[in-house]
């Protein structure tokens, strides 16, 4: 539809509306967008929104926009887009009806749609009013102020709350994003040290001894226990290869046992 937009506003029409004595209060702060403004104008024209004259509504709107411009109010782009569209629509409404192509929506139809859309917004506005006019809990009606100690509560309520779930999730992700990592350099138990230590321990490994018992426990600042175990394992495998040690494991994930290889 964009090719049908007229770049210039139809100010003649606007002037006409002003001359017909439409009272205009130009206060854009009060309106939430062009549709809201149109609704206010339409309401001043007729109570039944489906009966309003769209051509006249277009005049009123254009006059409003023109007045706003004259007073150098800055108008948001969507007000101007609406103005251009209404000017175009009005010109189409006034023209003798051209032969319509199959894809060409008639101007009358568009005008009806606009009226319908205004009626829809109006309906929602009234719905909001009638909702707020209902007896509201803790404003108009009040539940028991002092329920029994042994709480009688509903058990059929769904307490899962997606919003809370989203909130819980995002709170953590934010925390995670803000967390400052100061990774401490990993201290590893070097293979050399492990070998040396294991060689020193060899005389004591007369019986099958669990690897976890052979590896240093690790405490305080030094290498982690995992590092001690891993390096001790690697060192023990090297000693096995060199023929000084035997290793055995009964099944996967089971404890590994080490024993000094007996002289042949």
């Amino acid at each position: 539809m964009s090719d049908t937009f007229q770049p210039d506003l139809d100010f003649e029409a606007a002037r006409g509306a002003v001359e017909t004595g439409e009272a205009l209060i130009v206060d854009l702060d009060g309106y939430e967008g062009p549709l809201d403004l149109l609704l206010a104008l339409a309401r001043s024209q007729k109570l039944d929104l489906l009966q309003i004259s769209i051509a006249r509504l277009a005049d009123q709107y254009l006059a409003f926009v023109r007045e706003a411009r004259r007073r150098r109010f800055s108008l948001a782009a969507d007000y101007l887009v609406m103005a251009a569209w209404l000017a175009w629509l009005k010109s189409r409404l006034l023209l003798p009806r051209p032969r319509r192509g199959p894809d060409d929506a008639g101007a009358d139809e568009l005008a009806e749609h606009l009226a319908f859309r205004l009626a829809k917004l109006d309906a929602m506005r009234k719905a909001a009013e009638s909702l707020l006019a209902r007896p509201v809990l803790k404003r108009d009606v009040f539940a028991r102020g002092d329920p029994e100690e042994a709480r009688i509560v509903s058990t059929t309520r769904v307490c899962g709350d997606l919003y809370e779930l989203m909130d819980a999730y995002i709170t953590q992700r934010k925390r995670e994003a803000r967390r400052n990592y100061t990774p401490r350099p990993q201290q590893a138990f070097s293979l050399e040290a492990a070998r040396e230590r294991l060689r020193d321990l060899l005389p004591e490994l007369q019986r099958w001894t669990p690897l976890t018992g052979v590896a240093p426990m690790g405490a305080g600042g030094g290498p982690t226990r995992a590092s001690f175990v891993a390096s001790t394992l690697s060192a023990s495998l090297e000693l096995v290869r060199e023929g000084d040690l035997e290793a055995r494991q009964l099944e996967h994930f089971a404890e590994i046992y080490l024993r000094r290889k007996r002289a042949a």
């Binding site: 539809m1 937009f5 939430e32 967008g33 062009p34 549709l35 809201d36 109570l47 039944d48 009966q51 782009a77 969507d78 887009v81 609406m82 251009a84 569209w85 929506a105 139809e109 568009l110 009806e112 749609h113 319908f116 859309r117 009626a119 829809k120 917004l121 309906a123 929602m124 506005r125 009234k126 719905a127 909001a128 009638s130 909702l131 707020l132 209902r134 007896p135 509201v136 809990l137 803790k138 404003r139 108009d140 009606v141 009040f142 539940a143 028991r144 102020g145 329920p147 029994e148 709480r151 009688i152 509560v153 509903s154 058990t155 059929t156 309520r157 709350d161 997606l162 919003y163 989203m166």
Partner: protein, 215 residues
């Protein structure tokens, strides 16, 4: 004449509802009562008994509670909580969600004709009146929103069918979300979903003799 059992069931329901901290469903009540108790009959009896009293029986969100009579609201100064004021945008958004649910953000914006400002929907979510409900099975799979039981309880509605004026609006076609395909009012907020027509595109029938809801 009611039987002894009926009278006893009514007393028990009365006691439970007085003691409850929140509205109770039929299932909640039945679970606490002797087997075979006719809970609906007891509720009907209580509703009649409390009719016109200072306290009355109300159905909200499919559950039952006693509440003070509306005409005595003026007495309740100590209990009244100043409700968080809803902005006009929030009120309208709430109404649109209530009457059109499930509804997407884009659809809310289409009815209001403006982009939803940040803070409008979140406030309703935070107040617990509105919840994300699912996703529309359309391109982009936008999230849909619906109202909660808290909403119904707050506004004293037994169910969504009791929304004021809903039947009339529906009959007038005012609750249809499907805009006709040739509907071309420029809509800045429509940029984001310009090629995702929702649902069926049958053009609504327009009658110029609609009875306006004010006339």
């Amino acid at each position: 004449m009611e039987t002894h059992e009926e009278g006893e069931t009514e007393r028990m329901v009365e006691a439970l509802l007085f003691a409850a901290a929140e509205p109770l469903s039929l299932v909640d009540l039945a679970r606490r009562l002797p087997e075979g108790a006719d809970v609906p009959a007891a509720l009907a009896g209580l509703a009649a008994r409390y009719d016109g009293r200072g306290v009355r029986l109300a159905e909200v969100a499919g559950r039952w509670r006693f509440q003070t009579a509306e005409d005595l609201a003026f007495l309740m100064t100590d209990e009244r909580e100043e409700p968080r004021r809803l902005s006009r945008a929030a009120q309208e958004t709430l109404a649109i969600v209530a009457y059109h649910q499930p509804v997407t953000r884009a659809e809310i914006e289409a009815v209001r004709g403006v982009q939803a400002s940040r803070g409008t929907l979140d406030m309703l979510l935070e107040l617990g009146f509105v919840r994300p409900r699912g996703r529309r099975r359309t391109p982009g799979r936008p999230v849909t929103y619906a109202t909660t039981d808290t909403f119904l309880e707050h506004f004293g509605l037994a169910s969504l069918a009791d929304l004021p004026g809903a039947a009339e609006m529906k009959a007038a076609g005012l609750l249809d979300l499907d805009l006709p395909p040739d509907f071309a009012v420029p809509d800045p907020s429509a940029a984001r979903d310009d090629d995702a027509p929702l649902g069926d595109e049958a053009a609504p029938e327009f009658h110029t003799d609609y009875v306006g809801d004010e006339g």
